[in-house]
Structure formats: structure tokens, C-alpha cells
């Protein structure tokens, strides 16, 4: 029988939650990398034992970890201890925690600044990896979305990283500005039907698309309306919190923006609001049912200053119509005195016949539904604040 592995990143370490396909009894392992912030863990879709983890700290910076055995053991995939860090010809060997912005003349536009909070020019400074996205076809190829916002790629199993500098250099990068949480590239979507197409989202710049494997990029924010920027319909400057797609219909995108839930039916060329009857359209997560491309999930949060559910009731909202018409899913979730948040990378779905939905909270709970959201139960209740949740179905 197949099983499920839920990889949970928290403020103080990583946890791996495992179950058989019934998803009733869970084993919890961890904390892995105790004491470190684990922004994200991601498994390869073509090799379920290959996992990548982003481990970071304000003290010691960014570490990339890799597991080749499904999370039992981990290693930093750069140069092993005791080996020289340069090859005999002088070229540097793998340094898995080295993320250096591309300022080479070959990129054409070696940007050196973006906008700071006060509108002044500020140099790009690498801080951490927010999101890792494994290639759909090659376990050794993985993408990293980083703060300050940029996209990196490794083709050697995360031993070394190169920036896809066409994103920062496409023309608007010098106008990007951070939100209060930093200027992060937090979403990477790879189109399963077109290997050259990919989408990213940046807070607070917006969404961007490449149609040539990440070489060149353009903003795809037409239709977004953000009252917190001087021009509410500007080409960039929108605080996109998360975008999601269904692999069978990659031209349809769903977005949870700072405020507003949005939908695009043309690969991001234009967006329409589908917030409909949500109690609030602020939130962070959005995800799509594994088998029903028009069924989507969000967790409404009261406001951008009150990062908790309205009325102290933790409710997932599901739309079976691709937006606009939403139903509250409450069975098994706390319906009083609940003031947790659900961060942007903290929801995932599994691909079992009865789609499982998972999300983690800043209160340390990880909730699971084995019936597409109809009912919920906590897998764990008392982890450190949850930053990210990912799911793999194991053979």
C-alpha cells in the first residue's frame, strides 16, 4: 500500500510525518536541524527519496541540505569535509550554500540595486532561501527562490547554484521593493505541459512568467488591483502571496494576493477577482485539489495587521467552481479562540484517490483532511511555528 510523507518546516527545525494511505495513524520524526529555521523542504517528483531542505539562521546564514534516502539521513551537497574547495585547475568546487547574484556583463543588465522602503536605491543582499522547487523530470535539477528576490538553479543536486538573472534584469527589478516581511521570491511553478514555461511570484513585486526555461521574463500582473501602492494597477509592486495551478490545466492560475483571491485563465496574461463570498479575502495560502482542477482552497485571515482567522474560527474555504462561490470547512477545526496564522507555503495536497489536504499553523498544529477538506484532524499540535508543509505520495 502506498504511503504519505508530509515534510514540515518550522522556525526551530524540520519534522517528517508519515502514514499509510489511510492517513489515520501518523509517525512523527524530528526535529531535524534542531534550532534552525526550515523555510521549505521539497521532494523530487521523479525520485521520492530525493529531498531538499532550506535551513537558515540569522546567525550563520543559509545552508542547503539534501537527503537521498527519504529523509533518514541528510548532508550538505557541497564539497565534502577535508577536500579542497577548488579543483586542480583552480575552478571552485561545489558550495551548496553559496548564492551569489549574477553581475556578470554576459547577463546584459547587472542590476545592483532595488528600491528600499523609503524609495531609495538599495543593494541586493542575499538573506535566505524561501522556496525550493524540484524539476519535474530530473532529480538533480532544483530551483531556489530567495530573499532578496531572485531565482537560482542547480543542476548538480544542489552542490552549486547559478542565478537565472534574466528575472532581475528584465527591466523592472530596480523598482521592486520589499514588504514588511522582506523581498522574497516565494512561489515557483513549473508547467508540466511546457518544459520551457515557468511562473514565479515575489513579495512585493508581483507575478512573472518565463517561456524560455527562465532565460527571459516578463511581469504578468494585469488585472491586479492593489490599493497600497500609488498606482493600484501598476505593472509591478503587487504583494502576491501565493499562486497555484493544477497540473492538468497549467494555463489556469489561482492567486492569493495580499488582499483578493484572483484567477487567470490565460497563463497570467490577465487576472479576475474570484473572492466572491469569502468572509475576508486576505490570506496567504492557496492550493488546488489534486483531481479536480476547479476545486481550490484558501484560509481567510482577518487583515494585514490582524494575522489570525476572523472571529477566532479556523476555517478552510473551498470553492468547487474555481472561485467566487465558497464554502466554509470547519469540521475538526477549532471554532473558538483560535488566533493562529497559516503562512504562504504551509498548505499542500496529496494525490491519493481521495485527495488529502494539509496545512500548518503558526501555533504549531498540522491539520490533515483525508476527504478533500470535509473533515480535519491534527496530526501534531505542538510543533514550533510552522512555515511550510509539503506532501509526497510514496509508492
Amino acid at each position: 500500500m502506498s504511503g504519505v510523507r508530509v515534510s514540515v518546516g518550522t522556525r526551530k527545525g524540520a519534522f517528517v510525518l508519515s502514514s499509510d494511505a489511510k492517513r489515520e495513524r501518523w509517525e512523527v520524526s524530528g526535529p531535524h536541524f534542531a534550532g534552525w529555521e526550515i523555510y521549505h523542504m521539497k521532494g523530487s517528483p521523479v525520485d521520492p527519496n530525493r529531498l531538499y531542505a532550506s535551513q537558515s539562521s540569522s546567525w550563520f546564514g543559509q545552508i542547503i541540505q539534501r537527503s537521498d534516502d527519504g529523509g533518514k539521513t541528510w548532508h550538505q551537497p557541497g564539497t565534502p569535509p577535508g577536500e579542497p574547495t577548488t579543483a586542480p585547475d583552480g575552478t571552485p568546487k561545489g558550495e551548496s550554500n553559496k548564492f551569489v547574484y549574477d553581475t556578470s556583463p554576459e547577463t546584459g543588465k547587472p542590476l545592483t540595486t532595488h528600491q528600499w522602503y523609503d524609495g531609495t536605491a538599495h543593494p541586493w543582499e542575499f538573506k535566505r532561501v524561501w522556496h525550493l522547487e524540484s524539476s519535474l523530470t530530473d532529480p538533480d535539477t532544483v530551483y531556489a527562490g530567495v530573499e532578496d528576490a531572485a531565482l537560482f538553479r542547480s543542476t548538480d543536486g544542489a552542490q552549486s547554484w547559478q542565478e537565472l538573472a534574466g528575472l532581475r534584469g528584465h527591466g523592472s527589478g530596480d523598482k521592486w521593493a520589499p514588504g514588511a516581511g522582506g523581498m522574497c521570491l516565494h512561489t515557483i511553478l513549473l508547467d508540466p505541459s511546457n518544459r520551457e514555461r515557468m511562473f514565479v511570484a515575489i513579495s512585493s513585486a508581483g507575478a512573472f512568467r518565463s517561456d524560455d526555461s527562465g532565460k527571459t521574463w516578463r511581469p504578468i500582473n494585469r488585472g491586479l488591483h492593489s490599493l497600497y501602492i500609488p498606482d493600484p494597477t501598476a505593472e509591478i509592486g503587487h504583494c502576491v502571496h501565493r499562486i497555484a495551478m493544477h497540473r492538468s490545466r497549467p494555463g489556469v492560475l489561482f492567486m492569493q494576493k495580499h488582499w483578493d483571491v484572483m484567477r487567470s485563465d490565460d497563463g497570467g496574461e490577465s487576472w479576475q477577482e474570484v473572492s466572491g463570498n469569502l468572509p475576508t479575502d486576505f490570506g496567504f495560502v492557496i492550493d488546488v485539489h489534486a483531481h479536480e482542477p476547479n476545486t481550490i482552497y484558501v484560509v481567510p485571515i482577518k487583515s494585514d495587521s490582524e494575522h489570525f482567522p476572523p472571529d477566532g474560527k479556523l476555517r478552510v474555504y473551498r470553492s468547487r467552481t474555481g472561485g467566487n462561490e465558497w464554502e466554509a470547512l470547519t469540521k475538526g477545526l477549532p471554532q473558538s479562540d483560535c488566533y493562529v496564522n497559516v503562512l504562504r507555503d504551509a498548505m499542500a495536497v496529496d494525490s491519493l484517490d481521495q485527495c488529502g489536504v494539509y496545512f500548518g499553523t503558526t501555533g504549531g498544529q498540522v491539520y490533515a483532511s483525508a476527504d478533500a477538506g470535509d473533515s480535519w484532524a491534527p496530526i501534531v499540535r505542538d510543533l514550533p511555528p510552522v512555515v511550510s508543509v509539503e506532501v509526497q505520495v510514496l509508492p
Binding site: W59, P81, E95, K98
Partner: protein
């Protein structure tokens, strides 16, 4: 033989239990000690000083012989007891506070 003490998180990354002992060629300075440390333990590159600028990370400080050496020039000689191995070069992470 130079002795280096590391914060717990870096000891774990480097997979060492106790203080690190290294031979350093030439003058014993912050730079030469850190270069030797990172050569022996490549996974520590970027964790103590920035990959590109080589600046000490903001929450990391250097001490030896009861002195704060964090703001000394990278090529300034370290105290003789560090150079002879009588005293450790201490790499210290800031207290988390709270």
C-alpha cells in the same frame, strides 16, 4: 597548532564534537585562521563570514585571551597565545536574548 572553538550549531555542521585544531601556514591572523578552517571544513564557508565580501556575519564575534577581536583587521596578528596554541580562538554567536 591553532585551537578554534565553534558555536554548537557550527560544530554540528562541521561534524566535530570538541574544539578544532588546525595547522596554519604563515602569520596567524583572523584571515589565515578562517581560511584554514574553511579549507578543512568547506561546509562552514559562508556561515562565519560572507561568501563574497568576506565580512564577519553580524551575529558572530571573535574573542581570544579575554579580548574582543571582532573589529580587528583581518590581517592583524592574533595574540601570541593563539599562535602557539596556548589559548583558543573563539568564534561566538550572539546570545539570542529574550
Amino acid at each position: 597548532m591553532i585551537r578554534i572553538t565553534l558555536p554548537a550549531h557550527l560544530r554540528k555542521l562541521a561534524q566535530v564534537d570538541e574544539e578544532v585544531r588546525l595547522d596554519v601556514k604563515g602569520p596567524v591572523t583572523q584571515r589565515s585562521v578562517l581560511d584554514a578552517l574553511e579549507t578543512r571544513y568547506p561546509m562552514l564557508r559562508g556561515t562565519i563570514r560572507d561568501h563574497v565580501t568576506q565580512q564577519r556575519r553580524a551575529f558572530v564575534r571573535f574573542f581570544a585571551c579575554g579580548e574582543d577581536l571582532s573589529h580587528e583587521l583581518p590581517d592583524a596578528p592574533l595574540p601570541d597565545p593563539v599562535a602557539t596554541g596556548a589559548a583558543p580562538f573563539m568564534i561566538v554567536g550572539a546570545i539570542a536574548g529574550g
